[in-house]
Symmetry: none
Subunit: 411 residues, 2 copies
């Protein structure tokens, strides 16, 4: 896959097209080994096309086929293939009709879209005026589609993937993938628990992905049909689940903040937070979920020590006795928060996020959860700087809330 566009290199937009096409190729069972991005430069695009043609059976190019002078994908294909540019009178008429049908005069620069590398077929673009292109260079199929996702995706789904599947018939294979999301152990510990399975795994393959405090284990299998691929995954998935036990908390993509809102709602409980060191991050994550207001009522960020008593209502003796960064304080914050916010479940976080230590070492974060059934606290020691400590603590707090809502806090 080649994406053409200087705005991608400058980081002004993210190459989400690559992920969109990639996931559809995987679903179709088509192997996909390389992605490239190049700017709007004829020579570099032509070289990228040559390289891709040399190593691939098929190449999809996105972007650079619009009407303006910096759209140079058509010219680059001609240069890479050593062919001339042709002009489609029929498509020129079609373009004129398209604009006339909208009661507007066509800018002459748009006639560029009737140009095409000699021998290429047009791919119909149901959502715009830039047609796609399909041609063979050496033994490789080359496709060019617009960079605008709304135009590109239907062309990939309805024209290119069916064409490739028909071409590769017999070689046909489906790829299926399952992701198990875990919380509670490090990536390296998870890898160790599954080490021999990883070494053995060829089909399905196993991979690990870390994101904040969550570690994902991905199993991917390939077979003649999607069902056969799923059958290959099933025994490996069972074995992984057996070894990791309660560390696995989900196989879908629903974020943990959405899961806890759903779990609280199922029990008819409302939710709030009382935060110190995370400064509102937990509340911000929870209110990021559409419809959070049905369950989440609010938060008190008592950052200054005196607000913990004056606003939140924690007894002053706790700060003076146990200290601000203590399990006693976290529990008192959760209890006082539940009362002030009028909620059934209150999550509280206090700690020392750095850069300067507050009472305890930097990275000491204390999380408490109050439910109508219990109130408990846990002390975590987290690595990294202020931003990372706060982000990890937020995710960890949401997971401890999840465990508390499942009644599994002390597991």
């Amino acid at each position: 896959m080649i994406a053409v566009g200087t705005e991608l290199l400058l980081g002004q937009i993210v190459n989400s097209n690559a992920a969109e096409i990639g996931s559809r190729l995987a679903l179709a069972g088509l192997d996909h080994y390389h992605q490239s991005v190049v700017g709007d430069n004829l020579e570099r695009v032509a070289v990228a096309i040559r390289r891709a043609v040399e190593r691939s059976d098929a190449v999809i190019i996105t972007g650079g086929i619009g009407p303006t002078q910096d759209d140079i994908t058509r010219e680059s294909i001609c240069a890479a293939a050593g062919i001339e540019m042709d002009f489609s009178e029929a498509y020129a008429v079609h373009l004129g009709d398209w604009w006339a049908g909208r009661g507007r005069e066509m800018p002459t620069t748009n006639l560029r879209q009737a140009e095409y590398p000699a021998g290429a077929e047009f791919i119909d673009n149901p959502k715009g005026t830039a047609p796609g292109l399909r041609l063979q260079i050496d033994d490789t199929w080359v496709f060019a589609v617009p960079g605008v996702p709304q135009e590109m995706l239907p062309m990939v789904e309805k024209s290119i993937i069916p064409f490739l599947l028909a071409e590769s018939e017999g070689a046909g294979a489906a790829i299926e993938s399952t992701v198990l999301r875990t919380y509670g152990e490090s990536e390296s510990r998870i890898a160790e628990m599954l080490g021999d399975l990883f070494e053995l795994s060829e089909n399905p393959t196993m991979a690990f992905l870390a994101s904040a405090a969550e570690i994902k284990v991905r199993l991917t299998a390939r077979a003649a049909t999607a069902e056969a691929a799923r059958d290959l995954i099933a025994p490996m998935e069972s074995e992984v689940r057996a070894r990791l036990g309660g560390l696995v908390f989900a196989s879908g993509s629903e974020p943990v903040e959405s899961m806890v809102l759903g779990m609280a709602s199922e029990r008819g409980w409302t939710l709030g937070t009382a935060e110190s060191a995370t400064g509102g991050l937990v509340a911000a994550r929870l209110t990021g979920v559409p419809g959070a207001s049905a369950t989440f009522r609010g938060s008190i960020v008592a950052y200054a020590t005196d607000l913990k008593s004056e606003l939140l209502g924690v007894s002053e003796s706790i700060a003076e006795g146990s200290g601000v960064v203590s399990e006693e304080m976290a529990i008192a914050m959760a209890q006082a928060g539940a009362s002030k916010l009028g909620v059934d479940v209150c999550l509280a976080v206090t700690g020392s996020a750095g850069p300067d230590p507050q009472e305890r070492d930097v990275g000491t974060m204390i999380i408490a959860v109050r439910t109508p059934e219990s109130v408990r606290a846990r002390t975590l020691r987290l690595p990294g700087d202020r931003e990372r400590v706060r982000t990890y603590a937020t995710t960890a707090a949401l997971h401890l809330l999840r465990l508390a809502l499942m009644g599994e806090w002390w597991r």
Copy 2:
């Protein structure tokens, strides 16, 4: 730039790293021509590195340097460069200390992170245990950093870009760059105001970068010396500043949340927030600044309507009369928040973030600021989905607070 990871090819995650690094290279004035993505396959990664080395002065590899068996970037570098793997006893000790400092035993698989291609230097990773790598293959500098954005970005910003700038200066050309950060107009309006300067600009060059509600204008000049490059920038910068006037709020990289904390502190004022639609995001941004506790006291997130009166203390008649999403409500929240939190300055946000409209159209966000001198509100209409609306509103709120602290609210 090469991103390593099968999850990218499968479209399970988007390659946002490429955009993050790309924008920073652009800001630094470093030319960046090619991006590639390859899966976790030793041979294909090695070939990608060879190709990149052949055409580039420097290559940044992201991903594949974690502790697990599918992290094969180190091995691929060895294969591409034809060198052996070495082992750092010193780093192994450092890793052991890191885990011991957290009271945990190091999984043995983590020792992989002490392996390195012979001759490579380690790049410090302040946010994790996987060190980065820097080595020369032929005449090309090759860098390898983790794929986790929170670890990768600081390494690119603090180690790799300064190194590349120093290296390219030695090549005889100094690159200097000035970034003017603006708030208050769209990217296209800024581009229009500077259009003729943009067309004329060759040295210095001009570029625009949008990030949330801020638009950056970057001027980059090349000359024999840094001083000569700065001399080239100076007249263009004066002209840009003259045209944009008060839209330019900074030329450094200090985030706006840090600026407002400093401005409030200078006047001896304490700060708090009363949030509804942003749900704690503004407080989270402010408390992300090290040392925020000297000025920021806390926040009340009154997400449920009844908490706006019961907890925050806003008269019930306002919700019943003007509504929850109204300037009257925002002003009342700012006033009540100042009183409850015991602060001099209180920022309040209410609005309709979506996906379902609340009283007003989705994207209607209302911001009020109460200072000891005045209280004012402003209504914004923001495009995009829930996440984008909340993020924009947070940045906009911090900027309106900045203007209020400067006494320029109504400018």
